[in-house]
């Protein structure tokens, strides 16, 4: 029972901190906002050159080979420095699947390209009729010689408008249980018959899309894992998606920001930060966050000992997203009237407020965190069934 950092860990922390300070420049931060795709690509290339773009990959594929503690330190420093996460669809999601289930050919082709951010990836799981009930998906893949012919639609596809590739769950067999007959397949977004329809979300931005497939021809060699075993592949991926989703370090940073900005807001001479009701709510968030940090560490320790993130990761997702939303709500409250300002390009001096736009964007888009990656209701079903044994 010990979490003290060794001297090597502390030196590593200083190295990471120094790198973020130097490499994540204000210009880059501004570019991430004005042109997200280019900014993100530039940042991920910098990380690649540093050798840090894939902390969780095994060293043999170009990962860092860091210990669990080092990964934790890296993630904490990243958040505290206000540095956004890498786009997860390639580097975190599909890469993990290819490493675990892919053929040698798939590993050799895709992994280096993902590492260098040469391809943008997006995720084709949900369908208009299949949200929480993912296994009911209907997008059909029919065998035709060495190819599959894909027909159907995927929805809520983040960054499909930028993507070079999409990893999809498709139905190759209708005869058995709905979890059977699902196949995990990689599709080139430049294929004929793919149409991307934008969806504007409640933060008034375009990151979500619907992707339609009309007779899209995909080589059978793009299947990852066995044909008809895609559900097993998908479940492994979802568990990976859930661990990162707690965002403990991001919530820590949000608490720090709340304290900074609430110290500057006054109601008739009383600082909002000194308001007892405000303090109590913030304290409740911090208390829960302290516990969640150690819940996450316990999960990481299990993983480091060779375990796989299991249904327990649902707990991290539920508690993490609840805390994220609680901090987002407090920032909106601090912004008061300014929380509603719609244009994102007003000069803060002219507007009379600095953080309202960031508060609105993260609050509004943050509503999705309890919906995506398996809604929190579904996470509770998973815990009830697989952890508690309730049927």
């Amino acid at each position: 029972m010990d979490t003290a950092y060794s001297n090597e860990d502390l030196a590593f922390r200083d190295e990471v901190r120094g790198f973020f300070e130097e490499a994540y420049t204000p210009e880059l931060r501004a570019r991430m906002r004005s042109n997200h795709k280019e900014g993100a690509e530039e940042w991920q290339r910098k990380l690649y050159e540093q050798g840090w773009v894939a902390p969780n990959w095994p060293a043999e594929f170009g990962g860092t080979g860091w210990t669990a503690t080092q990964k934790y330190i890296y993630e904490t420093e990243r958040s505290l420095a206000g540095v956004p996460n890498v786009i997860p669809f390639g580097l975190v999601m599909v890469a993990n699947v290819i490493m675990a289930y892919g053929t040698d050919e798939q590993k050799e082709y895709f992994l280096p390209r993902i590492l260098k951010s040469e391809d943008w990836w997006c995720q084709g799981y949900s369908e208009p009729g299949s949200g929480s009930d993912l296994a009911s998906l209907k997008t059909k893949a029919e065998r035709d010689g060495d190819d599959f012919i894909i027909n159907g639609a995927k929805i809520w596809t983040t960054y499909a408008q930028y993507a070079d590739w999409i990893f999809c769950l498709v139905r190759t067999d209708n005869s058995g249980k709905k979890q059977e007959g699902i196949t995990f397949i990689l599709i080139d977004m430049k294929s004929e018959g793919i149409k991307v329809n934008p969806i504007i979300s409640i933060d008034n931005h375009h990151s979500l899309n619907e992707v339609e497939f009309s007779n899209v021809r995909v080589p059978a060699k793009n299947v990852v894992g066995e044909i008809g075993k895609g559900w097993t592949v998908a479940k492994a991926l979802l568990a990976h998606e859930r661990t990162g989703i707690a965002g403990v370090a991001d919530v820590k940073r949000a608490v720090r920001v709340i304290k900074e900005v609430a110290a500057k807001e006054e109601n008739g001479g009383q600082r909002l930060l000194d308001d007892p009701g405000f303090q109590q709510r913030l304290a409740d968030i911090e208390v829960e966050l302290m516990a969640l940090e150690f819940t996450e560490l316990r999960t990481l320790a299990t993983q480091a000992a060779g375990g796989f993130p299991g249904p327990e990761s649902s707990l991290l997702k539920i508690k993490g997203t609840e805390l994220q939303q609680a901090t987002q709500e407090m920032l909106m409250e601090i912004a008061a009237y300014y929380q509603g300002v719609l244009p994102v390009d007003l000069d803060p001096d002219a507007l009379g407020h600095e953080f309202a736009t960031d508060a609105r964007l993260s609050y509004m888009y943050g509503r999705a965190a309890t919906i995506y990656g398996g809604s929190n209701e579904v996470q509770k079903n998973i815990i009830a069934k697989y952890v508690l044994g309730l049927e």
Binding site: S126, G129, S130, G131, S132, D133, S136, I155, W156, I199, I200, S201, I202, N204, L208, E265, E266, N267, G268, G269, L272, D275, G277, F278, E329, M332, E333, A336, Y337, Y338, Q339, G340, V341, L342, P343, L346, A350, L351, G352, H353, R360, M364, R367, A368, T370, I371, Y372, S375, N376, E377, K380
Partner: protein, 379 residues
């Protein structure tokens, strides 16, 4: 003991509900919000013709002579339709100040024009540093000859983009946070020295930051007694909070109805999601949140109708409960609509954003909880 609405109130309610249903469907509203001015002047004329703009004004000025209950009926129904035409800024705030503080001559000048739909107004009261403490006021009106010279800045002025005239809260004497020394001044929005930076809000409103640089005002610009505006503004705030709470209750009703309908039709795992007990209980909770909000609104209406001064404690409580229950209800509405709730296309998110703006207007839950404690716990 009677919580029924009068026949007249029911007629007003029906008339607005019919307008929303027939002439203010979702696509129409979207087109209005996206238009150059963000409101429909034709609708405004129609509101005048239908008499809605006359509701809170005395008959002697051409008004309907309505009370707080009449006003709340209008606000509730406008809320259900997310109507963006500036009823609240023009009639409740701008008109509310004229009817409270105006001289006979000023009332005769302004009220018939408000009622006739000829003037759009705004109340400029928020400053960068003021947050919800309205007496924290740096805008100054200095005596000059017979009149005043106005200098300063107001921010997030509701209807600030479209308003022809503004009532501006300004300091005529005293220090920045003194409760005395504040005055109300009628200002032509197009007068020399008045500059606007207009922008849209997430709930579809058009607002403005407005600066005043040596704006020359005549003596009759003064609305009410010089240096004694704060009690007038506080009284207006009470009525405005009740009006906003009524609007919020209307929005809550719509959100709950739409969410209930969705959970009855959306199928996952082979059955309507509304058949799951876990979700049923959550919808029971949002239904109770709505009923509780409505009850406290009714209590505030009854008290305010009897004696506005006696309703203070309930009005603080109302703002606290509307804040909490509003967040609860729109949060569940988005969550239970899943990905659909996240889209700009669906109306759910827009109702949520209006509730968010209502919550922050004239003080949020945190602010009014403190005011409630001060009022209710005072020995």
């Amino acid at each position: 003991m009677n919580f029924d609405f009068s026949e007249e109130q029911q007629m007003v309610r029906d008339s607005i509900a019919r307008f929303v249903q027939d002439d203010y469907d979702w696509d129409t509203r979207k087109a209005i919000v996206a238009s150059d001015h963000g409101i429909s002047r034709d609708n405004w004329k129609l509101f005048a013709e239908l008499g809605w703009l006359s509701i809170p004004f005395a008959e002697e000025h051409g008004g309907f002579g309505g009370n707080i209950v009449d006003l709340s009926v209008v606000m509730e129904e406008l809320g259900k339709g997310l109507v963006v035409e500036p009823f609240f800024p023009t009639v409740v705030l701008f008109g509310g100040l004229v009817k409270r503080a105006g001289s006979e001559a000023q009332m005769a000048e302004w009220l018939p024009r408000i009622i006739g739909g000829e003037v759009l107004g705004a109340f400029a009261y928020v400053e960068r540093q003021s947050r919800f403490a309205l007496h924290d006021c740096q805008t100054t009106a200095t005596r000059s000859g017979d009149g005043f010279v106005l200098n300063g800045e107001k921010v997030v002025v509701f209807n600030g983009e479209q308003a022809d005239h503004l009532v501006v809260l300004a300091r005529t004497s005293g220090e920045q946070s003194d409760r005395d020394g504040l005055s109300l001044l009628m200002v032509d929005a197009n007068a020399p020295g008045v500059d606007k930076m207009s922008y849209a809000m997430m709930d579809g409103q058009r607002v403005a930051n407005i600066t005043f640089s040596d704006v020359a005002l005549s003596a009759d610009a003064l609305l009410g007694e010089e240096g004694a505006a704060l009690p007038v503004v506080d009284a207006l705030t009470d009525e405005a909070i009740i009006a906003l709470a009524a609007e919020a209750v209307g929005i809550m009703a719509v959100l709950n109805a739409k969410t209930l309908e969705y959970t009855k039709t959306r199928e996952q795992f082979g059955t309507a999601i509304g058949s799951y007990q876990a979700l049923q209980h959550r919808m029971v909770d949002t239904m109770m949140a709505y009923e509780q909000s409505k009850s406290l609104l009714f209590k505030a209406l009854c008290e305010y109708k009897q004696d506005p001064a006696a309703a203070a404690e309930t009005i603080h409580a109302l703002k606290v409960l509307i804040d909490r229950n509003g967040k609860h209800i729109f949060g569940e509405a988005i969550q239970l609509h899943g990905g659909m709730g996240m889209t700009d296309e669906l109306d759910i998110g827009h109702y949520a954003k209006r509730l968010m703006m209502i919550n922050t207007t004239f003080g949020d839950g945190t602010y009014h909880r403190n005011r409630f404690i001060e009022t209710a716990f005072a020995a």
